[in-house]
Amino acid sequence: MDLSVKLPGLNLKNPIMPASGCFSFGKEYSQFYDLSLLGAVVIKAATLNERLGNPTPRVAETYSGMLNAIGLQNPGVETIIDQELPYLKDYDVPVIANVAGSTVEEYEQVAKAFRRTDAISAIELNISCPNVKEGGLQFGTNADVAAEVTRKVKQVSQVPVYVKLTPNVTNVVEIAQAVEQAGADGLTMINSLTGMQIDLQNRRPLLANKVGGLTGPAIKPVAIRMVYQVYQAVKIPIIGVGGIMTVEDVLEFLLAGASAVQVGTANFQNPMICPELIEQLPACLAKYGFTSVEEAIGKGHPSE
């Protein structure tokens, strides 16, 4: 069974990769399995300088999901290049760098900084992180701003740029088309929905940051809907993410129009989820009448 997928800058041996922020820089999960098994590795968001992130508590559990407000904690792009990426070089797996920032300039600078390494194959522009007060949400919820960040980063990036969209918008198709227009090579969707949990005992929001990003299987139907709608409205490929738990979920994203998928929250429940999905994928594709991954992409759109 041919699991490979060719995307701008990415020759994936299979369509399964961990989602940014749920996999750090890979080292931890390499205790559980060989990272070379993965389609790609998406690293934690890089900002220009080190960030310590939000106060704790940073996570809460919700029904079939979780909330997080990590707040983009990371050691900064230079340290990532020098101290984290070399470890991944030992593996035969393309690396996607998730890029975040508080200003358009910061995005540009981070993307520029990544030019000095050949350890990454693509950039994923995180214009959607809902956790950082000055950054994140704003960029991704306004089509003009989203397009501007995309354009600026495209100008400086040596590798293809995937723009990761936020679901917290009235019209996701409009944003998707704007970033496509601005030169995005692909889309990743979706990031987390903004949510909250209240601590009954302490009578305040449980997360120190009050709001957090809702992820996990709870949000899968929203992700599928958005991938489906955007697939019909753009020409660039989509990497699907949001709530994947099972190999059937993977196929559902492919049918909706995703060319590859990311797995986030499920890693916390089951650290072996990614290799397990990769192993199960051929049988699942065969069961539903497909002979390759490429063949399944977008097949959930009836031809009428």
């Binding site: 749920c22 559980f32 559990e61 997080n68 089951n270």
Partner: protein
């Protein structure tokens, strides 16, 4: 670190809302476990509970190939865990975090201070210290008499002081009241419990070298998600409780 699915030998209520689970593990997994480490438990198959629950190792029995944990029912996840039965399989990530570095310290008499669900890890610690010839004095605090567990077991290993908030058993008050009232002899301390207790203990014992074990809400439990950080004492950097901890030197972190 490994993900394992292991059979439950028994599950028993040992105090008010407090349960002990014994599970069977192979010796080579058990031998690697140090006091103060935790296991990260999957609550249930299926999607309802996406996060595992961190629970400290309370005891290891290398003869019976048995690992014990003790947990208190707090929310939906621990409530669900009480539904487990003998012979059910339980899914663990093991061993997690750094334990107490008991083999690298130079000491003769250790003071152990634990509160509530901070008590269980101190039992395996106490056993391990006594096995190494270190004298152990223990202070354990509970809300009320019905919540007390393992008093006998701790007593077998050294002197024990018990406090209850409501005075229904032992000394009424907090574990720190024992520190104030008793003239205790020790050269090192180990403490585990809720943050306010740790803070009080750390402040009161700031002339002594010691280790504390922290709790924080966790995502991955293996260092990949940055959910469980704590600032270093100087406020400039952050440590991950799940991998750099949960055990820290008392003066290493800001609590």
């Amino acid at each position: 670190m490994k993900q394992l699915s292991v059979p439950i030998l028994s599950i028993e209520k040992i105090a008010k809302a407090t349960y002990q689970i014994d599970m069977r593990l192979e010796k080579d997994h058990l031998e690697k476990i140090k006091p103060g480490q935790f296991i990260h438990i999957r609550v249930h198959q299926g999607s309802e509970f996406m996060l595992r629950r961190p629970i400290s190792v309370a005891d290891v029995d290398l003869k019976l190939n048995k690992l014990s944990v003790i947990f208190k029912v707090f929310g939906r996840g621990t409530e669900q865990l009480t539904q487990l039965k003998a012979n059910d399989l339980i899914d663990l990530i093991i061993p997690c975090g750094n334990g107490y570095p008991i083999d690298t310290i130079n000491y003769n008499h250790a003071l152990l201070v634990g509160g509530g669900v901070g008590v269980p890890p101190l039992y395996y610690l106490a056993k391990s210290l006594v096995a190494r010839g270190v004298k152990v004095t223990t202070i354990i605090g509970f809300q009320t008499k019905e919540e007390i567990f393992y008093l006998d077991k701790f007593s077998e290993l050294g002197e024990v002081f018990v406090t209850t908030n409501d005075g229904s058993f032992g000394t009424q008050g907090y574990v720190t009241d024992i520190l104030k009232q008793e003239d205790l002899n020790f050269d090192y301390y180990f403490s585990c419990g809720p943050a306010p207790m740790l803070k009080a203990v750390k402040n009161y014992l700031h002339y002594f070298p010691g280790y504390i074990s922290l709790e924080e809400r966790m995502g991955c439990g293996i260092g990949a998600c940055y959910a469980c950080v704590v600032k270093t004492e100087d406020g400039k950097a952050q440590k991950k409780i799940c991998t750099d901890g949960p055990v820290f030197q008392a003066n290493e972190v800001m609590i």
